[in-house]
């Protein structure tokens, strides 16, 4: 087969950053091509250049031997390229069907053909096995469901080249399987798929070939993925060996730190109770919509409680007030980075110091030196890839934004309970193991840690205990000694018939 998609010497710079430097590689027709690299390596930038959203400073893209010089997203679309971006690009006030048709509504003379609008979408969603009502407003969907809508975009348009930028970062295993099946189908139809991910499992499961980027440069190109090993890829990415990503370290568990009793709220109706001990890392696993994030927000007081109490070291925490929770020692890293995490328009330093600065600002007056010190310390410790601490946070790559949010809470003092919702969403392998190390260290100091994750290997790899949630209630509570993939998945699935079938699939795929 010929090289259908070719990148030739692509370079792209931003002020202070060379995001891509002289990147060349090519992909064959009917192939799924993986794209890997550390956070900030330039993967999304490459995808953006391909989508016509950004133009490269130098270099060109060839499709089917023809040089493309499109100027806009539309041109790229005409040329048969469709891109699913890393950040969700949906309009919350429009319905699912409208979002899928956006930019090319069906109809005559500007009047929308409503039967086609909904009908076609309904059919396509059914074909690919996504169970979402096309007439539902996107605002009413959970993040996972929104991600599925994004993915459906790729199928809606009859594209030749489809690029997916970390599509599974907010999907749980069940939805991921739907996506994988879809990708297999598209491959069989002879499309080219460019697939960005930090999950090695997926890369091996899906890809035929692979390119690794590092610091904006091409670090390695593997035309045949069966000829490489995991460890090889990891060292190409991060420049060193990582023997065991999880690196689990057992610890002493102390007295009960966090005690949650009969907690319920508007989006989590069944009351939930659990406790976490000093030094314990408790994992929450479940499918999308299981209600884990809702539980976390209730504990933190981000949403108002309808009943129940939360206490830290025996002292009750005031309901619905994040500042109160922080003062009582509970902090939360939210799952939705863009809407709940970063403060747009502010730089890294300000985003990190936003909460902890009160400890070193007498009478509310800032100490710029101390803030700078703090920022530099955590930029170094978390290896945030940035030209300076004054960089605006929106200009960071997704994974690096996540690290800054982590830095925000690591710099906070007197934290007793750390709740992290999807701690490593969009984070590269190297950074992942660093984050785990930090979690172990914090737990070792007596902190109680709650980790919410949709990645089963991660939950199993790093926690002392797992609580499995299903449809808004706790379905199982399993100690590390009893960890068993089938048992956990079975508990997470709403109906038993499906459960065994899917867990079989899971095991096969690994």
């Amino acid at each position: 087969m010929q090289d259908f998609l070719q990148f030739k010497a692509i370079s792209k710079g931003y002020p202070g950053v060379q995001a891509l430097a002289d990147v060349s590689f090519s992909v064959k027709k009917g192939a799924v091509h993986g794209l890997m690299g550390e956070n900030g390596a330039g993967k999304s930038t490459l995808i953006r250049v391909l989508s016509g959203d950004q133009s490269a400073d130098t270099g060109e893209i060839l499709i089917d031997g023809k040089a493309q010089n499109y100027r806009s997203v539309r041109d790229a679309f005409e040329a048969g390229v469709i891109v699913i971006h890393q950040e969700l690009q949906l309009v919350p006030e429009l319905t699912v069907a409208e979002n899928l048709w956006l930019g090319r509504f069906p109809g005559k003379a500007g009047v929308i053909d409503r039967t086609r609008l909904v009908g076609v979408v309904k059919q396509k969603l059914k074909d690919i096995g996504i169970d979402i009502d096309p007439a539902a407003k996107v605002a009413s969907l959970s993040i996972g469901e929104r991600q599925m809508v994004e993915i459906a975009k790729a199928v809606m348009a009859d594209a030749r080249v489809i690029a997916l930028d970390e599509p599974t970062s907010s999907l749980s295993s069940r939805e991921s399987e739907i996506l994988f099946a879809l990708i297999d189908r598209l491959r069989a139809e002879g499309k080219i798929i460019l697939y960005v991910s930090h999950r090695l499992d997926e890369i091996f499961r899906l890809c035929d070939s692979l390119t690794v980027l590092r610091d904006g440069k091409l670090a390695a190109h593997h035309p045949d993925i069966s000829k490489v090993t995991r460890d090889q890829i990891i060292s190409e990415m991060v420049g060193r060996e990582i023997a065991n990503i999880w690196g689990f370290r057992p610890r002493e568990r102390g007295a009960v730190r966090l005690e949650v009793k009969d907690l319920a709220g508007r989006k989590l109706r069944t009351p939930i109770s659990f406790s976490v001990r000093q030094g314990e890392i408790l994992g929450f696993f479940g499918l999308i919509g299981a209600g884990r994030s809702e539980m976390a927000r209730l504990v933190y007081g981000a949403d108002s409680r309808s009943q129940g109490t939360v206490s830290v070291d025996g002292k009750a925490v005031a309901p619905d007030s994040p500042p109160q929770s922080i003062r009582s020692g509970i902090v939360l890293c939210p799952e939705d980075r863009k809407f709940d995490g970063i403060v747009q328009g502010r730089n890294i330093e300000e985003n990190m110091a936003i909460s902890s600065r009160r400890h070193f600002s007498p009478f509310g007056i800032l100490q710029p030196k101390k803030e700078a010190e703090l920022a530099d310390r955590f930029i170094a410790r978390l290896r945030v890839r940035t030209p300076s601490r004054k960089q605006e946070i929106v200009n960071l790559s997704g994974g690096n934004q996540q690290k800054v949010i982590l830095g925000r809470w690591l710099s906070e003092q007197g934290v007793k309970v750390l709740i992290i919702d999807e701690p490593t969403r969009g984070i590269d392998v190297g950074a992942k193991s660093e984050i785990y190390e930090i979690l172990y260290e914090l737990a070792g100091q007596g902190m109680a840690i709650v980790v919410i994750s949709s990645e089963l290997p991660e939950v199993m790899g790093i926690t002392d205990r797992i609580m499995v949630m299903c449809e808004g209630r706790v379905a199982a509570d399993i100690e590390r000694a009893d960890f068993d993939e089938r048992r956990i998945l079975a508990a997470a699935l709403p109906d038993v018939a499906n459960a065994s079938e899917l867990s079989n699939q899971q095991v096969k795929s690994r």
């Binding site: 997203v73 919350p92 006030e93 500007g110 009047v111």
Partner: protein
């Protein structure tokens, strides 16, 4: 009980609340529910109502237009002066549409192409256009020579004055455009998430230019009708119109953050504004207290609407 609550707090809650308020007013305020008063009421909201149609689009796409009052005055002036000069009402009409459209086009181009904040741009054009209106007429009212021009406002069809029909037609047309056409959906998309719309291939800046141009054209229509009603072009007409129109839209549930709009809501908003004025005058409320009452009604209406959306659990 719960079904009542559902009704009040549902999608059509504002309409229901409005209907209830209307019934109460009709029963308690003497002379309110007479044919004459109803027609008077409707005529008094013609300018606001017509301009609100396109303001809805403007707000829904996350923009803002403060220049509507000036444009209404200016195009009314132009209509009168052009028809006086040429002796043809049609020429006056066309001239007004051209001028109104030009103002809108300039707004749109400056905002979309030069990426200048809409508030500031339209604040600037608001002053510039008002200046033009004053300069053109030397600050004086210009009388209409051809009595045929008055007929635009005085003529009736099925017993209802033409301006009201025009307003109704605008309501229907723009309601259709908003919900059933690519233009309407793209407007909402731009307001809901400009970045996503751009990435989906919607030509955001062209859309914005179109929306502002339409706004200018519609202001011209309102200006012509107003000139016909007051039988002259007045350079000081329609001051403060922008705030009334925006209030009406927001009352009707149009989100200033963009992405949310509905024609029924806007109609209700326009009517609430009109009824409030009408009832205050019917009840003979003193001028100074009218300020207070007007403010309180505005607050109350949005508060009710807010309770509704809070109950609907919408995330803002």
């Amino acid at each position: 009980m719960t079904s009542l609550k559902k009704l009040l707090l549902g999608e059509q809650g504002l309409v229901v609340i409005f209907a209830v308020a209307f019934a109460i007013v009709a029963l308690t305020v003497p002379n309110f529910l007479t044919e004459r008063n109803m027609l008077g009421l409707l005529q008094s909201v013609v300018t606001i109502g017509i301009v609100a149609c396109t303001m809805m689009f403007c707000l829904a796409s996350r923009d803002f237009d403060l220049s509507v009052g000036s444009t209404v005055a200016f195009s009314g002036m132009v209509a009168v002066m052009a028809s006086n000069a040429s002796g043809s009402i049609l020429v006056g009409l066309v001239a007004a549409l051209i001028c109104g459209g030009a103002v809108g086009l300039v707004n749109g181009v400056v905002i979309a192409r030069f990426r200048i904040n809409a508030l500031i741009t339209t604040l600037a054009t608001m002053q510039i256009v008002r200046g033009f209106a004053l300069i053109a007429s030397d600050g004086r009212a210009v009388g209409i020579n051809d009595p045929g021009f008055y007929q635009l406002a005085l003529s009736k069809f099925l017993g209802i004055p033409t301006p009201i029909w025009v307003m109704v037609v605008f309501f229907i047309v723009f309601g259709f455009v908003l919900n059933r056409t690519v233009f309407g959906k793209n407007t909402l998309a731009i307001g809901g998430n400009p970045e996503a719309s751009r990435l989906a291939g919607v030509n955001v800046s062209n859309m914005r230019i179109w929306i502002f141009t339409l706004q200018g054209l519609v202001c011209a229509v309102a200006g012509v009708l107003l000139a016909s009603r007051i039988t002259s072009g007045q350079p000081n007409a329609a001051t403060g119109l922008e705030l009334s129109v925006i209030s009406a839209c927001v009352l009707g549930g149009v989100s200033l953050a963009g992405g949310r709009a509905a024609m029924t809501g806007v109609i209700v908003g326009v009517l609430i504004m009109g009824i409030a004025e009408n009832v205050m005058n019917l009840l003979n409320i003193q001028a100074f207290y009218q300020y207070v009452v007007r403010g309180l009604i505005l607050l109350l209406a949005v508060l009710l609407d807010n309770l509704r959306s809070a109950a609907a659990g919408r995330r803002t």
